[in-house]
Subunit: 672 residues, 2 copies
């Protein structure tokens, strides 16, 4: 009957943070963050315990340790630095602090005037054992203290030696860890580069960069547009697929079927006789032209992001060379994409579990690696929720184990649990429901879920305000004021956001009322944009991107907090860095049609201020400055200036302030 | 670089309920409950999926399956019966519902007037494959449907065959489970007997049952008291330790030290020359007398619970035979219990990790098994938080794998996480902070945590209203009304509770003001109780135990809900069975000094009633009956009748009611 007695868990270690799905998935952090670790750690009786975080980067052999400290209610906390853009592993070790327990008990007994002869003998043994463990100067130090102990027969003097701080320090360096217990699991942390958390994305169609609807744009045309994008302050430049486009069932303007070869077709119908996913559309240029573009972008402080869409047109080489990678009908033909009864005949979906699937998975991974070699480190992934989650998990790990700098953005507008599963599986960033959250309570609820709930550990919401597939109704109906509102929200609610060209020009004509498709969508034709269109909001976008660069509070993701404004049309929120050197508040009138007023209740405690302290306010969109006192502040927001962004700080003495005012305002060089 | 591709997880199964600490520990249920299982289950694309719970009792070889059903938002639910008092295991399996997907897509395409020739060929193949898998009549049935399909060339007719319900049923019985995915873990469920959840405990000191302070009571005296205990309606009779008591450092009245051999000493100073944990105190009787007591108790509908305290007096045989099981001083003597600077010299604590520890652990297990053989199935365990959690986990599993009916009650008044760890480790029931929760908001908060939070899955709070160590201040100051209040709370907030003799007599004299020790505590002397003491509340206790037996709602644990009463002195709550045939509400005036009134807001939706429906109220303490309408009802509660317990039901037609009123009230025979 006897079960084998497993007595390895002498100390309880549980409720470890951060841990995701029992350690099945890695939480995400960025380089330079310290990882805050927490755990419940305790054992029976009244012994003192000690604990440490054990950690290493995945590519390091040696474990390092960082001591943890008791917080309260059996909760312990520790931290270790995340210095590199690699995956880290950590676990927790705990042991009985034998010496600390002995020392503490000794003091209590001695102070109660009890005879401690026996206790002192025990302590001597503990120190003698430590001498055996110790090395170098520490060993000598312990031996010296032992001699000091032995030199006197007075209990009081021996007790004094045992209370010696140096002895404590030495004993803590060479502890008896006989009952060391480790957490059941080793936990992974995916440490990405900072741009995973803080970036501003701009999406454009390279073929439209000719500014001429009759001429297919080239990579060189895109190079010509880099100053435009850079001047607005973006740092990621993203293109829909740049590969050859199929001929069969090619789509035409406004998604018409079978438009013919003179139409450019949809970039998502990938592949033709000119090649597939490792090739570039010949009218865009050559692979060498592309590399030149990547290099030029880098000189402009921009990194290029490519679209990665696992699907092929009927003309793609894979359809000919690897028919078994697809779904085959009984008559041997390949099935095109469907969502019955809808058909998408310009696209073949892939069968991830058919014949030769392992070879297929490796090919899709190699497509990414190919573009990494061309200098691309960021991929926006099209509809990952129609491909197996475990494929993404494998592929992203494959790529990041060699290239940890690679960022994957998940474009999965689907059910919430699948969106979360993809993020857990490894997607660095994800599109969200942001475009459909326009009013106060739904914004507060959704953003609280994203930035303060469990999702914040692994899901980074990239707040694209529009996409080639999504022209939100709010923009259609609200016009220019609505674009300004959404620009402020996107740039300040999340630390990573994007727009698709035309947004800054307030392009808002839909294909039909109540539909989110653009009229004459750039997906099906070459568009020439008037970059100086009257009414454009380029100055606002520029100012917002600049504010993001200048104010560290806006570069964090999970520091968003909502505050009270007494008008349901006015949203009021703030972000601060942990050290409070950067504190930013935003008030937005969400109604594009009408002005509204509200009292904003500033959280003086967060700001570190008392009710009567003066605080300096710099409004970033108007450059107005104020001195305010107290929590409630009244504001009026008009649709033509629907937001205020307040940078606040405590008012300092005139001496400090003189220096401050004499310094020129520094605009940092664009970061990578 | 290549990671081995693990493609075993084709379907995502996550967030499984009930699961405790990643399956490390078992959740608890009772025999006769169905286990409600939930999980998030989904995959990429738009295929339909199917899922099942796989389960078996730990001692069964074969897994059984129970199909799950889609609830909403990717959440699936299933259930399986917990028929026996053993540990069960379950997991979840999911697979693509290939036929269901095909059938659904076919219908959509056909209804859209598309050519479905190819689809029909695919479907035929699916049915043909199922024929190969099927057996017996089902195989014949499928073959017949296949012939029907082949018999016609009309697409419409073939579509009709494919929509056939019989075909669907057969295909669901013989599914293609090629991509079957199982949950990462198998999850345990500890299924205890019903008394683990529903029981009323009475604690007494056998040696006091002589009713004569000069004569040490015997087991026969206890037999004489069985009617007293049974008549009040209890079902578990619990004794402090019944073993020989040590002589060295024996304690005297009111915990005086070194009282001498003529004092009976503390039952917790276990062991003397007459024996140890497997022996009985000679003045109580013999082992055979004890067995007679157990049998007699059973005839009275009572089960005996023993106290299990892992500690010894200096005279215990283990101290002589196994000194290495203890903590030894440098001079070779055994350490007595301490919490510096306090000393407990009549007790030696055990060292669970010293020399011979495995043999020691087995001995402690064998002590339990010894008493199980004497007929005891319930053990109240003294101070388990001073012994290793992993010892309890091992020992309880050892015992329950042979004797799943054994119940362990944890007496750990300690920090909350340790209390929870012991429950997770296997303790069937646990003492709680109940005695220190006397006022409205703290009761609501604590009881909500216990009965509605995560603890409800594994922690059953046994609400002892007093113990030999705890005479709560509320009872000391509040007198008889306070006893009535606490009796109502204990018996109705939890489905398992207890009292220590004297409670029903309103014994409330402390050793000193603000202390929780009884004066002249029964722990240190033989006490003769006046069982008919004036002012006793035996009738109330009796009525409460009877109400618990008659009303199923009071026999459940996690069905407790608090409702609104507009007076902070009046607590209002209710319990209902899932089928709503038993609904009980309780209103208690928590102030023992003063009467209070309140409006009680009855939750008509829970009661299944509309605002104007008449509902019948039976007040269980006064036997008053009313007809009420509407949610708000006014009540006045005096300290001498501080509570009302309302059984409510809808008023029925006179025909049904005639039958109902003519039936005699049934008092069920006491359960086991």
């Amino acid at each position: 009957m006897s079960l084998r007695i497993d007595a390895s868990r002498k100390i309880v270690i549980e409720n470890v943070y951060p841990e995701l799905d029992c350690g099945r998935y890695a939480v995400k952090r960025e380089v330079g963050d310290p990882l805050q670790v927490r755990a419940d750690i305790y054992k029976e009786g009244h012994d003192a315990i000690a604990a440490a975080v054990r950690y290493r980067a995945e590519d390091e052999g040696e474990w390092r340790e960082s001591r943890m400290h008791f917080l309260e209610n059996d909760r312990w906390g520790g931290t270790f630095p995340l210095e590199r853009n690699v995956r880290y592993l950590f676990t927790i070790a705990a042991w009985t602090d034998v010496f600390g327990t002995w020392r503490s008990d000794l003091k209590k007994k001695f102070d109660a005037a009890q005879d401690v002869a026996s206790e002192l003998l025990e302590g001597r043994r503990l120190i003698a054992d430590a001498v055996e463990r110790a090395e170098g100067e520490d060993r000598e130090g312990l031996e010296a203290l032992l001699r000091e102990l032995d030199a006197t027969s007075s209990q009081a003097e021996q007790v004094a030696v045992s209370a010696d701080d140096e002895l404590l320090e030495l004993m803590e360096r060479w502890p008896d860890r006989g009952d060391l217990t480790e957490h059941d699991r080793t936990l992974p942390v995916q440490v990405d580069r900072v741009r995973a958390r803080f970036a501003s994305w701009y999406e454009l169609f390279p073929r439209s960069m000719s500014d001429d609807p009759e001429r297919h744009g080239t990579f060189d045309d895109v190079i010509g547009k880099l100053p435009y994008v850079r001047d607005m302050g973006f740092d990621v430049l993203y293109f829909p697929p740049i590969h050859p486009i199929g001929l069969q069932f090619r789509k035409g303007k406004n998604n018409t079927l079978n438009a013919g070869p003179d139409q450019p077709g949809s970039p998502y119908a990938i592949g033709g006789e000119e090649g597939g996913h490792k090739d570039v559309h010949p009218e865009l240029g050559t692979l060498e032209d592309f590399r030149r573009l990547v290099a030029a972008a880098e000189e402009h402080g921009l990194e290029v992001a490519l679209d990665y869409a696992i699907q092929v047109s009927p003309d793609h080489p894979y359809a000919k060379d690897h028919p078994n990678w697809f779904y085959i009908r009984p008559d041997g033909t390949i099935k095109y994409a469907e969502n019955p009864p809808k058909k998408y005949q310009d696209i073949y979906p892939l069968n991830f579990y058919g014949e030769g699937w392992e070879e297929q998975w490796e090919e899709w991974r190699d497509v990414i690696l190919f573009w990494v070699e061309q200098g691309v480190k960021t991929f926006r992934v099209d509809n990952p929720h129609t491909k197996p989650v475990q494929f993404w998990e494998w592929m992203i790990r494959e790529v990041q184990s060699e290239h940890p700098e690679v960022i994957f953005l998940s474009e999965a507008f689907t059910r919430p649990k699948m969106m979360r599963a993809l993020a857990k599986a490894g997607f660095t960033q994800s599109y969200t429901y942001f475009t459909w959250r326009n009013f106060k309570s739904e914004i507060q609820e959704y953003l609280t879920e994203l930035t303060q709930g469990p999702m914040k550990e692994y899901f980074r919401g990239n707040f694209f305000a529009n996409t080639p597939d999504i022209l939100p109704e709010f923009l259609q109906r609200g016009g220019r004021p609505a674009f300004m509102i959404r620009a402020v929200l996107a740039t300040t609610l999340s630390s990573v956001y994007g727009i698709y060209s035309g947004f800054e020009l307030c392009e808002n004509t839909p294909m039909a009322p109540r539909k989110e498709e653009y009229l004459n969508s750039e997906k099906y034709e070459i568009k020439a944009w008037d970059w100086d269109r009257p009414g454009n909001i380029r100055p606002l976008i520029t100012r917002l991107n600049q504010a993001r660069r200048e104010h560290a509070a806006l570069q964090e993701y999970d520091n968003l907090r909502f505050y009270h404004a007494d008008n349901d049309n006015i949203l009021f929120y703030g972000k601060a860095t942990a050290d409070r050197t950067s504190i930013v508040f935003v008030a937005v009138n969400l109604d594009p049609f009408q002005a509204h007023e509200a009292t904003l209740w500033f959280p003086l405690d967060v700001m570190g201020m008392g009710q009567h302290d003066p605080w300096e306010v710099e409004e970033l969109l108007t450059d107005e400055r104020h001195f305010w006192h107290g929590s409630p502040q009244r504001v009026r927001l008009d649709p033509d200036a629907p937001a205020r962004i307040y940078r606040v700080r405590a008012w300092r003495s005139s001496e400090q302030n003189f220096d401050y005012f004499m310094k020129p305002t520094v605009v940092p060089t664009p970061g990578r």
